[in-house]
Amino acid sequence: MATAMSHVGSDETLQNVLEVRDLKVWFPVRTGILTSLAKSEEKFIHAVDGISFDVRRGEVFCLVGESGCGKTTTARCILKLVEATSGTINFRDDGETIELCSAGPRQIRRIRPKIQLIFQDPYESLDPKHSVLDQLSEPLDVNRVGGSREEKMKKILTALSNVGLIPPETFLHRYPHELSGGQRQRVGIASSMVLDPIFLIADEPVSMVDVSMRADILRIMLDIKKREDASFLFITHDFSLAWVMGDTIAVMYSGKIVERASSFDLIRDPKHPYTRALVSVVPVPDPKFRHKRVILHGEVPDPIDVPKGCRFHPRCPIGKEKCKIEEPELRSIGGERWVACHFWQEPFP
């Protein structure tokens, strides 16, 4: 697979910022003394179980899936908040490549400003006792960047106006309780942006923001992408958000990527049966719109005891004998389309 994707990096404009290869994150399951004596075999939660993808410079890469599929664990692993069990994550900045999984604390501290996180909940992620100025100064102080006081202030004011908090001076001394939900989320984004990151991870960034203000937050992120040529790892369960935000979408199921394609191809012409079903049930804001829905039964598998063969086979409407035995690999089916299904060409109900 690595060879098939390496051509992407040759083009300067499409250079990869992040290359994830065969990443696994397993969490050991704690069992009681008796069970561990009786059975010597240790059990693991297979949160992320061998995924590979690239994120290009200036691209919004969406990871979509149901809760528990491993999308947030992937993000936490890139941020070094959880340890990878195996696999590599190459992060590229200014011609320099750092492998995050094996990097030491000093290396990580050096690149930390370049990879930033936009939090999900603007009500929980801001310190109620921190003014907006404190909130935005902290990342600069902690990372010892920003230079003199004047330079720092200039950075902070720019970051605030870039997220539409205008005039920025009027927001500096406000506290979170004096801000609306949309404004709080803007402050959150601004405090990630003061460090001039090139890679942003946004984990469900608008799920706690009111509908009437959601679009502005999305637009701010797309503006950042354009202006800074920054890349985003956009994590959501909502296909309609991935549709408007994503350049590329990868769908995760039970710790694996089952399909990856440009967002247009993936939404308009999904190939994997899981993607097909998910796309068919996305709510449509049009009461006259009628189309066939494929409702899957059952639940996402237990991550401790994943099904043999294809993990999706117990819920798959087109599953066959082969799917119970052999796990399908994520294969290219031409161009930038990747599907992990033995029977993706078969007719779908």
């Binding site: 404004q183 203000m213 959601r214 296909f239 309609s240 449509v284 804001p285 009461p287």
Partner: protein, 316 residues
Amino acid sequence: MTALLQVNALKTFYRADGDYVKAVDDVSFHVDVGESLGLAGESGCGKTTVALSLMRLLPPNASILGGEILYDGQDIVKMSDRRLRRTRWKKISIVFQGAMNALNPVKRIVEQIAEPILLHEKIAKDEATRRAERLVELVGIDKSRARDYPHEFSGGMRQRVMIAMALACEPRLVILDEPTTALDVMTKMQIQQLVKDIQKEMSLSTILITHDLSVIAETCEKVAIMYAGKLVEHADVVTMFENPLHPYTSGLLKGFPNIHASRELPVSIPGSPPDLLHPPPGCRFAPRCPLASKECEVDPPGKTVDGNRYVACWKR
């Protein structure tokens, strides 16, 4: 069709610092027999307060200061506690927001469903249990799981249990407050389908409270839109989505991306909802409204348009 529920000029305020938060201010709507009404609006618009008023389950600092809630012609606002106990759950029940996480962890599912039956009806315990088991099946849970505990159930299944509980005393109206908000998209669709099926089968009336207009588009016949404590528009779903009359409704509709339309970012409404302790005089949406003018400084009266649509806007 006849109105099962008729809400007239409902006013529910919360006391705060010697003043009132005008959470629900002069709201009127009705629900017919077997009809599904979607009540939509952003957080803080008063939609949950409407639901709590209908059940008279308001917190101590809130009170209904005016209006009437007629269920089958009887005014819930004026009911004695005794009468109210006979109406709640037996006539109107509710599935609370996030309630699936409020199941008693040390009681079996079937016992928890039987609880409201025993509380509201004079029947023997095993009869109530039998009914609870039937309800478990009705909401699509396998009979063999009826004696499980809540922690053995997924979120979607716990939400099914909440629906079974709401149906326990065979009410005619069920209020569902954000019933699918915390669920995954596939589970959401399963629950939506379940509610639709049950509604048809039992000719139940429902009020679905949600901020998600696309869910209303898929499941409801009528829709009522609230903004800052006011009802701004009420119409049947198809008409409202095709031709929204209130500028807030049009704005809200533009906020939802549609995977079957072109790939465009949704559009926000500038500004944010007002503080309901001191709402702006006149139309509460005026400060954010693209059409606002001088006359909007006076509260717009609600009016009926095209026979059966309601809108509260000077521009219509």
